[in-house]
Symmetry: C2
Subunit: 334 residues, 2 copies
């Protein structure tokens, strides 16, 4: 049934040339005349020859392959993948993906990439301890996206999260809010700490320390929902959240709790995930610049692979506020 795939040798035999020459033609490398090039390509097409990337990589050491770990539960990661594919294609690299799912942890995901011998690792919001990432980075280039890592070998491309929360708070204050709460992303992630810090700084900068309130949350919808229940006893007039997922969970509980958004309470998310654009979520949120983030991440990985000098280990991109329908001036009655 499944007949063996044709190899370089098959094409070579059919075209009456050597294996090496076919290899040259397939790689578009110099060393073949236009005439034979044409003939070989014709045969390859006819036999439906597909190069075997395994053998190719095995022999040629350098792999032009970037391993990407993403989380299936993070809608935002889907947007990042789109950007990464585009950026990689731009510089002639391939991507190989490994997903984290509820039943497949980050260590497993990374392990499978290591066996694939990709040339570098791009991790979307890694949760592993810095020491572990560092150990990995001592053996191959590792780019951490959207999370700072305090280890000299790990490259970081991320958004300025402190600034991001500043934007969110500034926006709310400008609208007239004072009683603004923040639902953080839990204690595991540095991004969470940064955003929390940004919130605190901004509140302080506006002289609103007295109104500051941080509720412990997480990155999932249910985390936002839980935080919302906690807030309902003494609702603020506005909330900023760690991310859009958490914000939607929060929104839901607020709505069911009888508050209307944004007239009773304003909500700001983070990430500008594609679903936050969904018109009837219509979430005001802090956008990360996906194109810049992904382009830089790929560029950095390639620099490391090809041994180019790297200037800044950590690159921090400014965020941008996207105002949609979940924020407005505070209700006069409150």
């Amino acid at each position: 049934m499944t007949t063996a795939r044709p190899t370089l040798a098959d094409v070579a035999a059919e075209a009456g040339v050597s294996v090496a020459l076919v290899s040259i033609v397939m790689r578009d490398a110099p060393g073949a005349s236009a005439a034979t090039r044409e003939r070989v390509l014709e045969v390859a097409r006819r036999l439906d020859y597909q190069p075997d990337s395994r053998a190719r990589l095995l022999r040629s050491g350098h792999s032009r392959l970037l391993g990407v770990v993403f989380g299936v539960q993070h809608p935002f990661h889907a947007d990042m993948l789109t950007g990464l594919y585009a950026a990689a294609a731009q510089v002639g690299y391939e991507l190989t993906l490994s997903a984290m799912t509820p039943g497949r942890d980050e260590r497993t995901a990374i392990g499978s990439l290591l066996q694939d011998r990709c040339a570098a690792l791009v991790l979307l919001g890694p949760q592993l301890p810095a020491a572990e990432l560092g150990a990995l980075a001592d053996r191959m280039p590792v780019v951490s996206m959207m999370r700072g890592v305090r280890h000299k070998a790990v490259d970081v491309i991320r958004t300025d999260d402190v600034r991001g929360e500043h934007l969110a708070v500034d926006h709310l204050v400008e609208l007239g809010h004072r009683k603004i709460a923040h639902v953080d992303g839990g204690r595991r992630m540095i991004a969470s700490a940064d955003r929390r810090q940004g919130y605190r700084d901004a509140m302080k900068g506006h002289g609103l320390e007295a109104y500051a309130r941080v509720v412990s949350g997480g990155f999932l919808e249910e985390d936002g929902a839980k935080a919302a229940r906690e807030l309902l006893d003494d609702p603020p007039t506005a909330v900023t959240t760690f991310n859009d997922m958490s914000a939607t969970g929060l929104l839901d509980v607020l709505l069911r709790g009888g508050l209307s958004v944004p007239s009773d309470i304003s909500v700001v998310g983070y990430d500008d995930s594609s679903f936050s654009r969904l018109a009837h979520i219509d979430l005001t949120t802090v956008a990360q610049d996906i194109e810049t983030l992904t382009t830089l991440a790929v560029a950095r990985a390639v620099e490391r692979i090809e041994g180019a000098p790297v200037v800044h280990r950590e690159v921090v991109i400014p965020p941008r506020l996207v105002v949609r329908g979940t924020t407005t001036i505070p209700s006069p009655s409150r």
Copy 2:
């Protein structure tokens, strides 16, 4: 900086045994004493040896590797990936992913998997013409999920979509609706045709042909939104949509158009994507049984790879209606 990865030869030299023996130990194959096994493993651990899956697959022909094509724009596919990983792990297979993005089409995605020499292809809702899929399937096992393919070589694991729309319509009719519209998935997908057919059948079965109305849509949010604008001139009391994404787009336009859901108009989606569970979308929808679909798909791929006899080329799973907050009895005024 990046020092060369240790190979079998390194481990063998360090442990004072042959390369072949180390291979035996690493594969947990018979032919090594407990004592050496222990010693070799210790050395491997110390050197942090990682088997090179490329070389391994290259040599051993059979790859225990399933190539999966998924769409980054389909939140439902993320749920499927989770199931596929679990099912594959269960039977000792690996997954290699290739994503379709707005800038990376299905042909490209499949092409990269072919180069990886995976043993079979699992395609989530493929859009390619049946002839093309068939040609592919003549060379290697191909499992199409959630889409029927009329070609004898392509295996199909899908939900009974005709039945699914029946469930949706039955539910609405039971609530008292008569003027029920359907927003389809466009003309490219067979699943779309099936669901449209299911809708028509069901309407007819209830003697409601006169009320039937099909609006052309698609699988994206904007397709649902567009359809909604079309419906607004003469709104039905209920709508079923091709999928959840389309339903959310539709919901949004309806809400902005001044209709409230579900009191003015009921909406039923399709897929039970994780976001449809988001409390404040809270969509009534037709669920596909992810665990069964993924388990069967992996089992089928493995059967084909290992040459086991296959009984039914196409397996059709019953859907299940999940009633949430977007459906209720029709408003008496309409």
